[in-house]
C-alpha cells in the first residue's frame, strides 16, 4: 500500500500531467513504454532468474495482434489492445517448453524464438495476412492523446502488478524459486506452474506495451516492432536500476534513457560509443544495480 501511494501514484500522475508542460509527447510515451518493458523484464528475470533475450517477441506479437485486428476486423483500438495482449500470451504459452532449458540456453532459445516470429510475420508469402515486409499502416484510428492515456493506464497496471508481486504470497514464492528451486518445491510450491504464471504475466505486459505502441506509431515495419534493441534496452535499464525491486527499473529507465536521449541530442556523433562504454562500466562496477548502491548507503528502497 505504501508503495502504491509513494511510487505508483506520483509516477503515474507525473506521466499523466507532463504532456501539459512538455510537448515532446512521444518522448514521454517512449519513457512509459520502456518503464513498462523494463518492469516486464523485471517480472521474469528479477523474480525468476530467467533472462528473456527475445523479450521483444511479445512486444511485436502485441503490436501485430493489435494491428491485424484493426486492419482485418476494423476493431476499435481498446478491443484490439486486448487481442494484442492475448497474442503475446499465446506466444508465451507456446514457448513454455523453453523453461526446460537453463541459463544461457534459455536466453538464446528465447532470442531465436523472437527472430523466428519476426521471420514469419515479415514473410512475403503471408502478405495477405500480415502485410509481410511491406509493413503496417493503420489509418482511421490514429489518436495520440487517447493512445498516450492508454499507455499511462498500462503503466499503472504494470506497476501495480510488480507491487503485488513484491508484497504477495505469489511474489514470495517466485523469490523462493529464484533462490533455490528445490527448496521452493519442498516448501510446497508448484515451481513449474508459478514460473509459467510469471512468464505469462511478463509476456502480457510486453504485449500490452506492443499494442499501444502500434497504436501510437500507426505506421511501422516488422523490424520496427521486433527490433532487438527493445529487449536490450529493457534489460539494461532493469539491470542498471536493480532487478527484483519496484524502484530499480524505474530509476534505470529515467536515468539511462534520459542519458540516452541527452547524449543522442547533444553529441550524436559519439552516441553509440558512449552508450556502449556506459553499459560495460555498469556491468563491471555495478552488477547489482543502482539499488544495491543505495542500499549500501543505508537507503532502503522498495
Amino acid at each position: 500500500m505504501r508503495d502504491v501511494l509513494l511510487i505508483l501514484v506520483p509516477l503515474v500522475a507525473a506521466f499523466a500531467l507532463l504532456p501539459f508542460v512538455y510537448s515532446n509527447h512521444l518522448l514521454l510515451f517512449n519513457f512509459i513504454i520502456f518503464i513498462v518493458l523494463a518492469q516486464g523484464v523485471n517480472v521474469i528475470y528479477g523474480f525468476t532468474g530467467y533472462l528473456p533475450f527475445g523479450y521483444v517477441g511479445f512486444f511485436g506479437a502485441g503490436a501485430y495482434g493489435f494491428s491485424l485486428m484493426v486492419l482485418h476486423l476494423q476493431a476499435p483500438p481498446l478491443l484490439a489492445i486486448v487481442v494484442g495482449a492475448a497474442a503475446a500470451l499465446a506466444l508465451a504459452l507456446v514457448l513454455t517448453p523453453l523453461f526446460r532449458l537453463s541459463g544461457a540456453y534459455f536466453s538464446i532459445a528465447n532470442l531465436a524464438a523472437s527472430l523466428a516470429v519476426l521471420q514469419v510475420v515479415a514473410n512475403p508469402n503471408l502478405e495477405n495476412y500480415t502485410r509481410g515486409p511491406y509493413g503496417i499502416s493503420l489509418s482511421g484510428i490514429f489518436n495520440p492523446p487517447l493512445a498516450y492515456a492508454t499507455a499511462v493506464a498500462i503503466l499503472a497496471m504494470t506497476l501495480f502488478a510488480v507491487i503485488f508481486l513484491r508484497n504477495s504470497k505469489f511474489g514470495l514464492a517466485l523469490q523462493a524459486i529464484r533462490e533455490d528451486a528445490i527448496s521452493a518445491s519442498m516448501a510446497g510450491i508448484n515451481v513449474v506452474r508459478e514460473r509459467v504464471i510469471a512468464w505469462l504475466l511478463s509476456a502480457l505486459i510486453a504485449g500490452l506495451a506492443g499494442s499501444v505502441f502500434a497504436w501510437y506509431a500507426s505506421v511501422f515495419y516488422p523490424e520496427t516492432v521486433f527490433s532487438g534493441e527493445f529487449t536490450i534496452f529493457a534489460i539494461v535499464f532493469a539491470l542498471f536500476g536493480g532487478t527484483a525491486t519496484l524502484v530499480g527499473p524505474i530509476l534505470g529507465v529515467i536515468i539511462l534513457y534520459g542519458i540516452y536521449n541527452a547524449v543522442g541530442i547533444s553529441t550524436p556523433q559519439y552516441f553509440q560509443l558512449i552508450y556502449g562504454a556506459l553499459i560495460i562500466g555498469l556491468v563491471l562496477f555495478l552488477p547489482n544495480g543502482l539499488v544495491s548502491l543505495l542500499r549500501r548507503w543505508g537507503i532502503d528502497v522498495p
Binding site: 537453463s102 541459463g103 556502449g276
Partner: protein, 307 residues
C-alpha cells in the same frame, strides 16, 4: 541441382564452423557469451580489407597476421573485462549485456574510423593466390577461376574458406587434445574451481582461450568479403546470432560439434534457399529451438543444460 546444393551447403557450413569455433571455445572455457564475436569478425574483415587496399597484401598471408594480432589483442581485453565479470553473481547472464556493450563500442569506433559504406575485396584476389598455391603444390599451371568439385564449379574463395575451416577445426582439436595448454584448458572447461585448486593459472589459460577465440573470429573475417559479399561496421550482430545457432546445434565446448553444427546449418540452409527461398532465414532459429528442445545437449553433447 541437388549435388550443387549439397556441396554448396557443405562449403558454406564449413565457413560457419570457422565462425562458430572461437565463440564455442570462449563459452566452453569461461561460460560467458561473447555477443561481440561477430564484431571481432568484422574487425578481421577490415584488417584484410585495409592490408589489401593500402599495401596490396593478398588475403591469404593476411590469415596468420589476423590470427596473431587478435590473439594478442585477446589478452588485455580478457584481463580488462572477464575476471571482474566472473566475480559477479550471475556472470553467464551478465556477459550478454557486457559484451553487447563491447559490441556497441567496437561498432561505434569502426564507424568513426571507416565510415558506413560496404567494402569488399575483388574475388579474383583470393583465387589468384589459391591458383598460385595449387600450381606450386601440383606442379601444373592452374588457372585462376572457379574450382571444380564433382563436376560442379565453386568460387575459389569458398573452397579456400572450406580448407581454412578444416585447418581451423584441426588446429583447435590439436590444441585441445595434443598440447599441454590444451589439456589445462579442458580442465578449466570441466571445472573452473577444481582447476584453480589444482594450481592451474586459470586466468592465463582463459586469456589464451579468449585470444584464440578472437583470432579465429578474425580469420573467419578475412573470408567475409568473399563469402558474405561485403562488409560494414554493422555486420557483426547477425553473424553472432547465426554462429550461436551453429554451436548450439552442434554442442557447446566441442570443436567437432561445431563442425557438425556448421554442416547441418549450411546444408539445410542451402536446401531451404533452393526450395523455399523466402523462408530460408527462419531455418537457423527453428533448427536451434528444435535441437535445444529435442536434444538439449546438442547433437554431440553430453553435459546437462536443463534447468
Amino acid at each position: 541441382m541437388l549435388t550443387y546444393t549439397l556441396l554448396a551447403g557443405l562449403l558454406f557450413g564449413l565457413y560457419f564452423t570457422l565462425i562458430g569455433l572461437g565463440l564455442n571455445l570462449v563459452f566452453g572455457v569461461m561460460r560467458i557469451v561473447n555477443l561481440a564475436h561477430g564484431d571481432f569478425l568484422m574487425l578481421g574483415a577490415f584488417l584484410a580489407f585495409w592490408l589489401f587496399s593500402l599495401f596490396a597484401i593478398n588475403p591469404i598471408p593476411t590469415i596468420p597476421i589476423a590470427f596473431l594480432v587478435f590473439l594478442l589483442l585477446g589478452f588485455p581485453l580478457y584481463y580488462l573485462l572477464v575476471p571482474r565479470l566472473l566475480r559477479a553473481k550471475d556472470p553467464e547472464m551478465l556477459s550478454f549485456i557486457l559484451f553487447f556493450g563491447l559490441s556497441q563500442v567496437i561498432q561505434a569506433l569502426a564507424t568513426i574510423l571507416w565510415g558506413t559504406s560496404e567494402r569488399s575485396i575483388p574475388g579474383g584476389q583470393l583465387g589468384r593466390a589459391i591458383a598460385a598455391i595449387l600450381s606450386f603444390v601440383t606442379g601444373r599451371t592452374i588457372e585462376n577461376g572457379p574450382i571444380e568439385i564433382l563436376g560442379q564449379s565453386f568460387p575459389a574463395a569458398w573452397v579456400a574458406s572450406g580448407i581454412a575451416s578444416g585447418i581451423g577445426v584441426l588446429l583447435v582439436y590439436w590444441y585441445l587434445y595434443r598440447t599441454k595448454l590444451g589439456y589445462l584448458t579442458r580442465a578449466v572447461m570441466v571445472s573452473r574451481d577444481e582447476a584453480v585448486a589444482s594450481g592451474i593459472d586459470v586466468d592465463r589459460i582463459s586469456a589464451i582461450a579468449f585470444g584464440f577465440g578472437l583470432g579465429l573470429a578474425a580469420v573467419a573475417g578475412v573470408f567475409a568479403p568473399f563469402l558474405l559479399g561485403s562488409i560494414t561496421p554493422a555486420m557483426g550482430a547477425e553473424v553472432t546470432i547465426t554462429s550461436f545457432a551453429v554451436i548450439v546445434i552442434g554442442s557447446l565446448g566441442n570443436p567437432l560439434g561445431t563442425l557438425l553444427g556448421g554442416l547441418v546449418y549450411g546444408i539445410s540452409y542451402m536446401f531451404m534457399q533452393s526450395y523455399y527461398s523466402s523462408w530460408a532465414n527462419l531455418l537457423p532459429y527453428l533448427l536451434l529451438i528444435a535441437v535445444l528442445l529435442l536434444r538439449p545437449n546438442g547433437l554431440l553433447g553430453r553435459q546437462a543444460r536443463r534447468a
